[in-house]
């Protein structure tokens, strides 16, 4: 229970169905340190909101301090990825580690049989194992974030909102008189409540780390167009922040951390033919080379048809039928078969459709 409307309604639905429910809020870091805490789901206000909803539903509620594990699994990874010139996905890391695996352990400590959350996804028992499916509300579906769940947890996960739309959920929240019914969505990363992650990187990276130092903005041909103030401020596909006076529309095509270069190019240079994915996690029987799947490389992006190329154990290579635009290393590539999540992994390299630039 984050204190947001989704987890609140999920809890309410479970109580309605007659389950014996315990509400848990995880304290992921010390909120008193950040100035703008409390606006959305993970600040102190969030914890208090969760507590009020639990009280309203008549269920026990506990707050568990998972700061140490969360720092190691999520925050340290976030910082390390930016240092490598990649764009991290901390919500994926949290779901893969803290939110389900660690929470399940605590649930077991309390004698619980299952873990539920307000994610917009569905699970379905199938002969070969439990399947994880997209939520029915395409605009809210969160399957993209859950590829890293340990497969053996799936039979013990419950997602009451997977079959509902967001507006249905808000309506239920109002009907139930939940204080969180009209709460705004949380948009920021929970440990960067101000939205400015540079301050976090500044505090956690060694002084004068290259990721935060000025460096050249270069074209694909190597011409220097200007200077940037730290490659950690850029992500592939980005157009802003490159400074004015650039010829035509230029986009960040790649980041070369060892030389602190931000490489820019025209829109066509963003076209990606294939992605290389490290250490995929499979929630179903892994696809074989030659299998056709659909792949999603960004939250809120369409998933596109692709072919699994060689290398399913260890690095996986997925080749798109049509080039995908602006794929950022560090993001997740999630492999689907229709609505079912087969698995996914972290994109470590992109193979350009029009250019040979790639980032490892």
């Amino acid at each position: 229970m984050s204190g947001g409307v989704d987890s609140s309604v999920a809890a309410a639905l479970l109580v309605e169905r007659g389950h014996d429910v315990v509400g848990v809020t995880m304290k992921t870091f010390c909120y008193s340190e950040t100035p703008a805490h409390g606006r959305t789901c993970c600040g102190l206000d969030g914890i208090n909101d969760a507590r009020r909803v639990a009280d309203r539903l008549g269920i026990a509620h506990f707050v568990f301090d998972v700061e140490e594990d969360f720092t190691r699994d999520v925050i340290d990874d976030f910082v390390a990825e930016y240092a490598r010139g990649r764009t991290p996905n901390p919500c994926v890391r949290c779901n893969s580690n803290t939110k389900f695996r660690d929470l399940m352990r605590r649930g077991e400590d309390l004698g619980c049989d299952a873990i539920a959350s307000g994610h917009y996804v569905r699970v379905r028992a199938e002969p070969e194992g439990t399947a994880l499916l997209r939520g029915v509300d395409a605009g809210k579906d969160q399957a993209y974030f859950l590829w890293g769940l340990p497969k053996n947890l799936l039979p013990r996960l419950v997602f009451p909102l997977g079959g509902l739309t967001k507006s249905e959920v808000r309506r239920r929240a109002r009907e139930l008189g939940l204080v969180t019914a009209d709460k705004p969505e949380s948009q920021e990363i929970c440990f960067v409540p101000t939205g400015d992650y540079r301050d976090l990187l500044d505090r956690r990276l060694p002084t004068r780390h290259p990721a935060l130092e000025p460096g050249p903005i270069v074209t694909l041909d190597g011409a220097v167009l200007g200077e940037h103030s730290g490659y950690a401020g850029f992500t592939v596909g980005q157009r802003k922040g490159l400074g004015g006076g650039l010829p035509a529309a230029m986009y960040v095509v790649a980041i070369r951390p060892d030389v602190r270069e931000v490489v820019v190019g025209p829109r066509e240079a963003l076209a990606v033919a294939a992605v290389r994915v490290a250490e995929p996690n499979w929630l179903a029987r892994p696809p074989r080379p030659g299998d056709r799947v659909t792949v999603q490389c960004r939250h809120r992006a369409r998933s596109a048809p692709a072919v699994v190329e060689a290398g399913v154990d260890g690095d996986l290579v997925l080749a798109f039928d049509d080039p995908m635009t602006a794929v950022a290393p560090g993001q997740s590539a999630v492999v689907f078969q229709e609505a079912r999540v087969l698995g996914g992994g972290r994109i470590v390299a992109t193979i350009g459709a029009n250019v040979s630039a790639s980032n490892r």
Partner: protein, 382 residues
């Protein structure tokens, strides 16, 4: 399911005698003690009666007893009130406190340190010995105040306040003691022990919440935190909570009158609880077991078991206890007391504190043991 409360060190229920004593002052006897008319006189009489009662119970004189709104307020008043006085002979004031003080002393001291006051911390070992050599050294500097609690709230350890008080008095340095967990459990008399400042709170002794006392020995200067109408000799202005003061006085009088028999009874139950837990959970560690302890507290740790999860599991099984220290979010955080006593190696998050009280019966202890063993077995790696 019957729910069992074993968290009396956190707070206690209001006793019927206290509620009865308070009732008129919540009702028809509502006057402001500072008013000149009959309502005022009635309220003032009750307030002064309460003050005289507290004084008699503690061995103090009535002008030395000041009513505050709780233990934290009294502790803060003692620290800030002394640290903010100009140092005789000039220079930066200094304050001294033990390593195991309650946050109400610790945080006040830290705040003063951030403002430039020198702060010195006295180590305490697991047997309850305070570093007296360090104290003597610190006293050379004539600190504005030394603060050593009488009974530690987390592990129940009794600190050598009489010894510390003698040494402070010999140097003319005021000793403050947080006696919140001590009154009603161990003998506490300011005519026996030369403390200069002493904190009591109502809600740990079956009195009302938001009530407290700060004893200030005659001749001890103190700067106030609040400024206003001059009530409580200017030490704590504001219209007094007469009902609260009456309630606190009644609670304190009863607690001290019953101390000897209740301490024996609680000690017996506590020792039984401890022995049963040790027998059923061989790896169990008792924090502070080697020190003189107040009779109502036992703080344990089981290696490899998450204290916060254990507290939650016990709650779901109907037994209320506490673990470590709670922060504003409600999560259990590491205990500075355990860290100070045992060093960072000890799992400071693994603590479980049982604190018994007036309503605790032998069958409650049995149930607590069963529930703890059940939870630990479920949580132990297979």
């Amino acid at each position: 399911m019957d729910f069992i409360y074993l968290d009396h060190a956190a707070t206690t229920p209001l006793r019927p005698e206290v509620r009865e004593a308070m009732a008129p002052y919540l009702d028809e006897a509502f006057g402001n003690p500072s008013s000149a008319h009959r309502w005022g006189r009635q309220a003032a009489a009750a307030l002064e009666g309460a003050r005289a009662s507290v004084a008699a119970t503690l061995g103090a004189r009535p002008p030395e007893v000041h009513f505050t709104r709780g233990g934290t307020e009294s502790d803060n008043l003692a620290i800030f009130g002394r640290a903010r006085l100009p140092r005789p002979g000039g220079g930066r004031p200094s304050i001294v406190h033990s390593a195991v003080e309650h946050h109400a002393v610790l945080e006040a001291a830290r705040w003063e340190e951030a403002l430039g006051v020198r702060r010195r911390v006295l180590a305490v070992d697991p047997t309850g010995r305070l570093d007296l050599d360090a104290l003597d050294q610190a006293l050379e500097d004539l600190p504005a105040v030394v603060s050593v609690m009488w009974v530690n709230n987390e592990v129940g350890m009794v600190l050598p306040v009489p010894e510390v008080a003698e040494r402070c008095q010999a140097r003319g340095v005021p000793l403050h003691t947080d006696a919140v967990q001590a009154v009603g459990k161990v003998p506490v008399r300011v005519d026996d022990v030369p403390v200069a400042l002493l904190t009591v709170t109502g809600h740990k002794i079956y009195g009302p919440k938001s009530t407290g006392v700060l004893f200030v020995r005659e001749g001890t200067e103190l700067a106030p935190l609040l400024h206003g109408g001059g009530q409580e000799r200017g030490v704590r202005p504001g219209t007094q909570d007469v009902a609260g003061a009456v309630g606190l006085a009644e609670a304190l009088a009863l607690a001290v009158a019953e101390r000897e028999s209740e301490a024996a009874r609680l000690g017996g139950l506590r020792d039984g609880l401890e022995a049963a837990l040790r027998a059923r959970l061989p790896s169990l560690v008792v924090h502070g077991g080697g020190a003189p302890r107040a009779p109502h507290v036992v703080n344990v740790g089981i290696p490899g078991i998450d204290g916060a999860a254990l507290v939650a599991a016990l709650d779901l099984d109907g037994v209320a206890v506490s673990g470590g220290s709670a922060c504003a979010s409600g999560a259990t955080t590491a205990s500075h007391v355990l860290e100070a006593l045992f060093g960072p190696a000890v799992g400071t998050r693994a603590a479980l504190r049982f604190s018994l009280g007036r309503g605790t019966l032998p069958e409650h202890v049995e149930r607590a043991v069963e529930a703890t063993v059940r939870a630990v077995e479920r949580m132990s790696p297979a």
